[in-house]
Symmetry: C2
Subunit: 465 residues, 2 copies
């Protein structure tokens, strides 16, 4: 596209405008004051103009980096979040301690394909979070490849003594990458258990991404008390394709896997809270948050540095515009989403006398351009009526069903949940891997996520839900 | 976000659904057959599943690379487009020759800040397309910084003998980057003329991007017959900030600029055409296209390799689904958008007896995730009625006012124009610079752009416009 001004790009006459006016009447909603449209635009100007979101994320990733629960970096992240909220002048900044798991990857994680002629071929792997170690000399065994637990079970004794290789790709034809992830991630979560039931000695799983590259992606997994624990790791998609091709050729190969991971007793971490206190109903609370922990790969920039920045920045933007909400808006940096959900669980379990949570809004799907909010059922129609203002921050869809892992425990207590849904096509290219670094985050897209969160928090704080 | 399936992401209950049903009735549109929804989903599956868009773009950038009008690479690109359409089995694949400008950057483009103490400090610059060269020894002069032509004019004789430095940034607070671009790009297009009127000896302009980095961005500019031609170049935003800071400090600095650019007589290039012939009204034509030329920096991946891929791939997708349109769908790879618009002009000027163009659809805003279509006025309401199907390919907005530079000449002859509007926040990070390479294109986002173009071409071919 060349140098001429392209005027039509600056027009904002969307097809939803007329239809939403109609819809509001249809649903019998109270018409929303048109000044929410102006407010939305002011929020966008502040978010984009200050570019503070990117500065904040950069501060987190250069001062702390990744921050797995139980690690020294995680403790630094807690201090960073408290200091940042205090520096920005939030009210009632405080920690709510919570015990979290401590799992340490250690220095060794490697795998080699051993060819019959003695050739060794490296596979890029990462231990899955929670995996046990292999013996020091590693595990060396043949490999059986399966696409599903059903297929594994149908093999009978054939998997006995073998490394079980789960290689069902995420379905790349689905419009939402999260749906593709949901359809494949049971291999990672339960692969070790199923491998052990089949008599396998280890489990490796194709990384959860539609991208072909040589970067493996970690993530959570579980063991069962009823069966042996076997070590488990993810292999890059390039490695998975290579291994699968060799197996299809009928090559008599074996795998050697070494992992040094260890679990330790729980350690103390904390949820970090800060507020804009409500002027009319301070006891009614809108929670807005992301999770402060990350996996121990890359920088946890999209997952979930972006969500933490979104929540902190939402409050900062409102504050900088001189806005004081009717109800209290509370930013919560949740502890330990990735491997325990202890922060979200503890937050919801905490007795809070005289307080009522009216909604919880989570950002945990990356720092990309905002496109939608998912909203849990009872609140759906009310949020739908805010669509006119929401489209000024790039939110074109309001979907039924929303929330996020951290606010799940609150939602199960009846609190309406909302989840920010950014553009998702790149999310799993980086997720839980060394690729999740700040250079993958665009400063404008990150800022608009903050704007979307600020507007939604404000609408809920003013209008209730 | 962790390993648990997140079911709400796979739901597609959008807020527009009910409202659009209402709206269609309001506007008295013929209800669209619901099978366009299914078709849209099938198109998405084919686009994402085959991943052919990315393969095609990679083929273009590795075999051809960037492809400025008049260059040997541009001739290779023409051959590539014809061969590709023939290989894919399009009908009536042909070239329509068009004479295009030939401007050659040459090997020298450099600038140094000369400090009073003899220190030299490099500035990263690129000649603007069409600029004349400096003398071999360069131009060395003091610098005057302005933010607007008005400011320059108000300086009177102060700019005489100086390098005029246009340093008004794109407005980063605007939601659409294209609006920010429109508000700043006159400095690039007309800076040399205004500098010359003020008695300046050269013009340098801050690169057209909101990103701070050290990569300069080229682009088109013009001279006037009524005033001297002075050499002109763009400086990176990092360089612009540095230079501005030194000037604000009152440093007695000078700039040395060397450019070796040259213009040559026009050479022959071509528009490249290929079709799916209509079964019922083959004489009615839907044009779908992008421009094949690019600037001579990076790979022209987003601008406009992506648009070329979108158009070719749209036809391939429809063909692969066994669909034969009622009206003819014609892919056009336009020549010379960047520095002359000769291809679009020639295409519209060509007499085509017995043919009627019913619409022209352009993709020239990058290979990012599709979000909207801009539609010229008479066609707006009809396209609006297709919103239900369009949202399955990620199109959430239909905006009044659309098209693109290449189809502008057709539109001025009364043909309705449509322009694909992808997510635009990253576009100017790469635009017209060494950064516009295929690694900045996400394969899923590119494929969905193709899906959006395929669906729109099909709807117009079946329903008219």
């Amino acid at each position: 596209m060349k140098g001429k001004p392209v005027k039509h790009f600056s027009r904002f006459l969307f097809f939803v405008a007329l239809s939403l006016a109609t819809l509001s009447l249809t649903l019998g909603q109270t018409p929303i004051p048109s000044n929410y449209d102006s407010l939305a635009q002011a929020i966008v100007r502040e978010a984009l103009g200050s570019n503070h979101s990117y500065a904040l994320l950069n501060d987190l990733v250069i001062k702390v980096g990744n921050r797995l629960s139980g690690s020294p970096a995680n403790a630094k992240a807690v201090a960073w979040a408290r200091n940042t909220m205090e520096r920005l002048g939030f009210e009632n900044v405080r920690l709510e301690p919570v015990m979290v798991p401590k799992w340490v990857r250690g220095n060794v994680e490697e795998a080699f394909i051993l060819h019959p002629d003695g050739k060794q071929e490296r596979l890029n792997i990462v231990a899955l979070g929670g995996s046990i170690a292999t013996p020091n000399k590693g595990i060396t065994a043949g490999v059986v490849e399966v696409k599903s637990f059903e297929e594994l079970r149908s093999l009978g004794a054939a998997a006995k003594g073998k490394v079980v290789f789960f290689n069902r790709p995420m379905d790349r034809t689905l419009m939402t990458t999260f749906a593709g992830y949901s359809g494949a991630v049971n291999q990672r979560g339960r692969g070790a258990v199923e491998a052990a039931y089949a008599g396998g000695v280890a489990a490796i799983v194709r990384s959860m991404t539609t991208r072909l590259d040589d970067v493996p992606h970690t993530g959570g997994m579980g063991y069962a008390d009823t069966v042996a624990k076997v070590p488990t790791a993810a292999v890059s998609t390039v490695g998975a394709e290579r291994l699968s091709a060799l197996l299809k050729e009928g090559k008599n190969i074996r795998l050697q896997i070494k992992l040094s991971a260890q679990s330790f007793p729980d350690v103390e971490s904390a949820n970090v809270l800060g507020e804009l206190r409500g002027t009319e109903k301070p006891e009614e609370v809108v929670v807005i948050g992301g999770h402060l922990d990350s996996w121990d790969k890359g920088q946890g920039a999209h997952d979930d540095g972006a969500g933490c920045v979104h929540a902190i920045e939402a409050l900062r933007i409102l504050k900088s515009l001189g806005l004081q909400p009717k109800r209290t808006i509370r930013a919560v940096m949740f502890a330990n989403e990735e491997n325990g959900l202890r922060g979200g669980t503890a937050y919801a379990a905490q007795e809070r006398l005289g307080e009522k949570h009216i909604a919880a809004i989570e950002s945990d799907a990356g720092g990309f351009a905002p496109r939608a909010f998912g909203v849990s059922e009872p609140a759906y129609e009310k949020v739908l009526a805010w669509a006119s203002a929401l489209r000024f921050v790039g939110i074109d869809r309001v979907q039924r069903g929303g929330g996020g892992a951290d606010i799940g425990p609150l939602m199960r207590k009846g609190v309406p949940g909302l989840g920010l849904i950014p553009e998702g096509h790149r999310y799993f290219d980086y997720h839980h891997s060394d690729s999740d670094t700040i250079d993958k985050v665009n400063e404008r897209e990150l800022a608009l996520g903050s704007a979307a969160m600020a507007l939604m928090a404000w609408l809920v704080a003013q209008e209730g839900l």
